[in-house]
């Protein structure tokens, strides 16, 4: 089935999210839609999927115009969508989720679960998904949940499958599996619209690439185009993908973590005997699949996990047992992993967010009063320094894009002299431009002589920044390896293999993305 958009326009108030978009998705193609966050990719897909009404233009399926009043219409016409955030009911089984909304019923309106199970098994077997229809969705790993979403779409005979940022939540190995699945689907005649801002994946799988910027299509690229070319098209200016970073000049050991152990309420170890050192002037990247103890590790250092045992010393001072306030006062800068939950007060102005942890200290406070003038002055300085795109320092945190929110958090944490800087997922969900900027600042902080810990589940980021890499698996540090360790080895270590085994295994099987690395124009450590 061929999907064509002609002059599709979508506005929100004065803001044009999609500006007369023309696009043709040919049958049996993987068509990548590449663009920064906020470029209008998801809006466009929501328009196609019937979630938004068109403000102009038309949608054609096999050359005849169609109108979708809602996702139901789109599905009936053969369009399936896998959202970035899965639309699954965690307490339902796979089969129940798949039939939700289209329940096959028998006599008296009773749901025919047998039929549902059969359908799931059929599709699962056809594509080698390896999904049991009777498992509860909440018990499945993220990658498998995504496959359930795909089964859901396929079970409704989707001829066109829209995947919205499908790899954002996956491990490298899961990403690899997904790419395999996409290729298989393509061979069976399904068209795939693949929305992403990750260049490497696009190059690995796409037949055709359309770049979208600020709501407009700015060009088509061939998958053979270099990553720098793609990134430049996406951002609208030339970008430097690699992080310019000289060799680390590690000084004396700043942070020393010894035998750190933390148990959950149920007594399950979240951190198990974790020990490592970080020296001044070096970046230690903590790699690992989400949920293997990285969050707990950073929280414990910050002091929000008072039950941890072991020892954390900064310049010889024991941090464990101190309040968050005193840990921050020891010179620890902390960028939390979830900026909207822990980093920023959305209803506060940029000014207020800038002084969130310093508001009662000079020069921002005079006695019991806030010094609003001083706060405003400092905020405007940091807005300038960190290139926060905003109309005013009085704008609310919620009015900023993700990248600018992160810059506000970063500016706050880097605005005072630091001994140790910890950043969790510092660039999650950000656009190329912001990532480039934030990476530069992190390296600059290292070169200032601060000890830096970067926690990231994105291997690309780890490789770009790390001087040394600690890989975490199930609450333990599985190994600490040099910063230039290969992607495949790290991927295997993230799955729990010790370094030596991972090295041997990686020699045998190269992953698709690992292979892209080798003939890519940017060496290992590209920013994306």
């Amino acid at each position: 089935m061929k999907l064509e958009l002609r002059g599709v326009t979508k506005r929100f108030g004065n803001f044009t999210a999609n500006d007369s978009i023309d696009l043709v998705i040919e049958p049996g193609q993987v068509h990548a839609l590449l663009g920064e966050n906020g470029a209008g990719k998801s809006t466009l897909m929501n328009v196609i999927y019937g979630l938004y009404d068109l403000d102009g233009g038309e949608i054609l399926l096999d050359d005849s115009p169609v109108h979708f009043a809602g996702p139901g219409d789109a599905m009936a016409a053969g369009i399936g969508m896998v959202h970035q955030h899965f639309m699954l009911v965690p307490v339902f089984t796979v089969a129940e989720n798949v039939i939700l909304g289209f329940e096959p019923t028998g006599k008296g309106g009773i749901i025919n679960l047998k039929e549902a199970r059969k359908r799931v098994r059929e599709i699962s077997d056809r594509f080698g998904f390896n999904i049991d229809p009777d498992t509860l969705v909440e018990d499945l790993p993220v990658g498998a949940q995504q496959r359930v979403e795909i089964i859901k779409a396929l079970s409704r005979d989707a001829k066109i499958l829209i995947l919205d940022e499908p790899t954002a939540v996956l491990t490298p190995q899961e990403t690899d599996e997904l790419i395999g699945i996409m290729r298989q689907l393509k061979e069976s005649g399904t068209s795939i619209v693949f929305i992403t801002h990750k260049l490497r994946e696009v190059k690995a799988v796409a037949d055709k690439i359309t770049v979208i910027r600020r709501g407009k299509i700015v060009g088509s690229e061939d998958p053979s185009a270099s990553e720098t070319e793609l990134a430049s098209a996406m951002v609208g200016r030339s970008v430097n993908l690699g992080v310019e970073k000289g060799p680390a000049k590690p000084g004396e050991v700043r942070l020393s973590v010894k035998n750190l152990t933390l148990l959950s309420h149920q007594g399950v170890p979240l951190l198990e005997d974790v020990s490592f050192d970080v020296a001044s002037g070096e970046i230690l990247a903590v790699a690992g699949v989400q949920g293997n103890g990285q969050t707990e590790l950073t929280e414990t250092i910050l002091g929000s996990q008072p039950k941890a045992i072991g020892s954390i010393t900064l310049n010889g001072t024991e941090l464990l047992g101190k309040s968050i306030r005193s840990v921050l006062d020891e010179g620890v800068g902390f960028v939390p992993e979830d900026r909207s939950k822990d980093g920023l007060v959305a209803e506060f102005s940029i000014e207020e967010n800038f002084v969130l942890d310093q508001h009662d200290k000079s020069p921002y406070a005079k006695g019991l009063s806030l010094d609003l003038k001083e706060i405003e002055k400092a905020a405007n300085e940091y807005i300038e320094q960190f290139d926060v795109r905003t109309q005013s320092s009085k704008s609310l945190g919620s009015q900023l894009s993700g990248g600018n929110q992160q810059k506000v958090v970063l500016a706050r944490e880097l605005s005072r002299p630091l001994q140790l800087f910890i950043a969790s997922q510092p660039t999650r969900g950000l656009d190329v431009g912001s990532i480039e900027f934030i990476h530069k600042r992190v390296v600059a902080e290292r070169d200032n002589g601060t000890a830096v810990i970067i926690v990231s589940t994105e291997l690309d980021e780890v490789l770009a920044l790390a001087d040394r890499i600690a890989v975490m698996y199930e609450g333990k540090i599985i190994g600490i390896v040099p910063g230039d360790t290969g992607r495949d080895i790290l991927g295997l270590m993230m799955a729990g293999l010790p370094y030596d085994d991972a090295l041997a295994e990686a020699e045998k099987h190269k992953t698709i993305l690992g292979a892209v690395d080798e003939d890519s124009d940017t060496p290992i450590g590209g920013a994306l």
Binding site: F12, G13, N14, F15, A17, N37, G38, G40, K41, S42, T43, Q84, R214, L302, S304, S323, I324, R325, V327, L328, D329, F334, P336, K341, D342, G343, L344, V345, A346, E347, F348, E352, L356, D357, H359, D360, A365, L368, S369, L370, L372, R389, T390, Q391, S398, Q399, L400, S401, G402, G403, N404
Partner: protein
């Protein structure tokens, strides 16, 4: 991806449009119409209109004329007009200005009565507002008012102290009473994570029985009286009248205005208020920034309870001169509406408290003159809450556009 993130590269183009161009006016109008203040004003208006329907329906003349509405509709409509206009006119006369009164002082007395009724509502509303803005849903103003009344009253009749000092001591007693009572809920929330809504509701009930019990003890009970009435409070502990003995309005009203100023400074200008608001909006981010969230919960409750306690003190030391079973009235509950109506801002709370004070002060005359049941005032209050709690409903009724932010969500 939401709309707000789509708006990231904010275009600054349309700022320089010529003045008076229609789109600019249209935008301005839409912004005003989308603001909460408009919804509140319309909610009050809507409540008065709905109450008018009830007033008309309850009126005997309207009922009679409705029987022959099709033969003589004009009778029906003039009866409706008479009932509604009569009720609201007498409400106005009772609450703001009475042109029919004999002396000038009496003509202006209604507005002073309104301000007197508004005084405890301002205090309690401020307390609740501080709590709401700090993310604490304190339903316990009623109990805090009662405890404030008990302690201020006790300080007022149990000790002999010089003028001024006695009043100050009694006022502090009122603050402490409310603060300690709310502090119980604050402590339980901070220490054990107990839900403040449930705890404060329970404390409301307990405060009522505590008051009844205290009024039977020798420390409180007035000698030679069988009624649940405390000893009379000494004049030295009473708020002086603000406009002379002819009017009930007392200096407690001025103190309430000062408290509003203080609450404004606390929330908008002080480092403590910054912490309060940070915790209220996002306790996780506040904690990550080193703010001791649990301590803040306790402090918020102490401040909120203290303010509500002052509301109780303004009753005992301002108008009643005695502690009795009915001292709290429904101040603590009305104050929830006041805080909601005033959007938890001091200025708004003063306005809302005066509105409610007016309804309260005007309703007796309304009942006497136009036979409108006094309960209609309760209905108006309830309708206001209902309409505010459902802004989208108000928008739909008045065909207001949805604010852009909500589209994004």
């Amino acid at each position: 991806m939401t709309v707000s993130s789509e708006q990231a590269p904010a275009p600054k183009v349309e700022a320089e449009e010529p003045a008076g161009s229609p789109s600019r006016w249209g935008t301005a109008l839409r912004e005003i119409a989308s603001s909460n203040a408009t919804v509140i004003v319309l909610a009050i208006f809507g409540a008065l209109v709905l109450a008018a329907v009830l007033i008309a329906a309850a009126d005997s003349q309207v009922q009679t004329t409705a029987g022959y509405i099709f033969s003589r509709p004009s009778d029906f409509f003039s009866a409706v007009w008479d009932a509604v206009s009569g009720a609201y006119t007498s409400l106005f006369r009772g609450a703001v200005f009475d042109p029919q009164a004999k002396t000038v002082a009496r003509q202006f007395k209604p507005i002073t009565d309104t301000l007197t009724s508004a005084t405890p509502l301002i205090f309690a509303g401020l307390g609740l507002g501080v709590g709401f803005r700090s993310g604490i849903f304190n339903i316990g103003a009623q109990g805090q008012v009662v405890l404030g009344a008990i302690l201020s009253g006790y300080f007022g009749f149990a000790f002999h102290l010089p003028v001024v000092i006695h009043l100050i001591v009694a006022i502090i007693g009122g603050f402490l009473g409310g603060a300690l009572w709310a502090g119980i809920a604050g402590f339980l929330k901070a220490r054990f994570g107990a839900n403040e809504v449930i705890v404060t509701i329970m404390l409301n009930s307990i405060s009522g029985f505590l008051l009844s019990y205290l009024l039977t003890t020798t420390a409180f009970k007035r000698e030679g009286s069988n009624n649940p009435l405390s000893k009379p409070i000494f004049d030295s502990a009473m708020f002086p009248k603000l406009l002379g003995s002819e009017f009930r309005l007392h200096w407690g009203f001025v103190l309430a205005l000062l408290a509003a100023l203080g609450a404004w400074w606390l929330m908008e200008r002080s480092t403590l208020g910054f912490k309060f608001r940070a915790v209220g909006f996002n306790a996780d981010a506040a904690r990550t920034a080193g703010i001791k969230v649990e301590r803040i919960y306790l402090l918020v409750m102490l401040v909120a309870g203290g303010l509500a306690g002052l509301g109780g003190a303004s009753q005992t030391l301002g108008t009643e001169g005695v502690v009795q079973d009915s001292i709290g009235g429904s101040i603590g509950f009305d104050a929830i509406t006041v805080a909601l109506l005033g959007r938890s801002r001091p200025g708004g709370i003063i306005g809302a408290a005066i509105l409610f004070g007016a309804l309260r002060a005007g309703s007796p005359l309304m009942q006497a003159v136009s036979n409108t049941p006094i309960d209609i005032v309760q209905v108006v209050q309830a309708l206001v809450v209902l309409l505010i709690a459902a802004p989208p409903l108000v928008r739909a009724i008045f065909r207001l556009p949805v604010p852009l932010k909500e589209v994004a969500a």
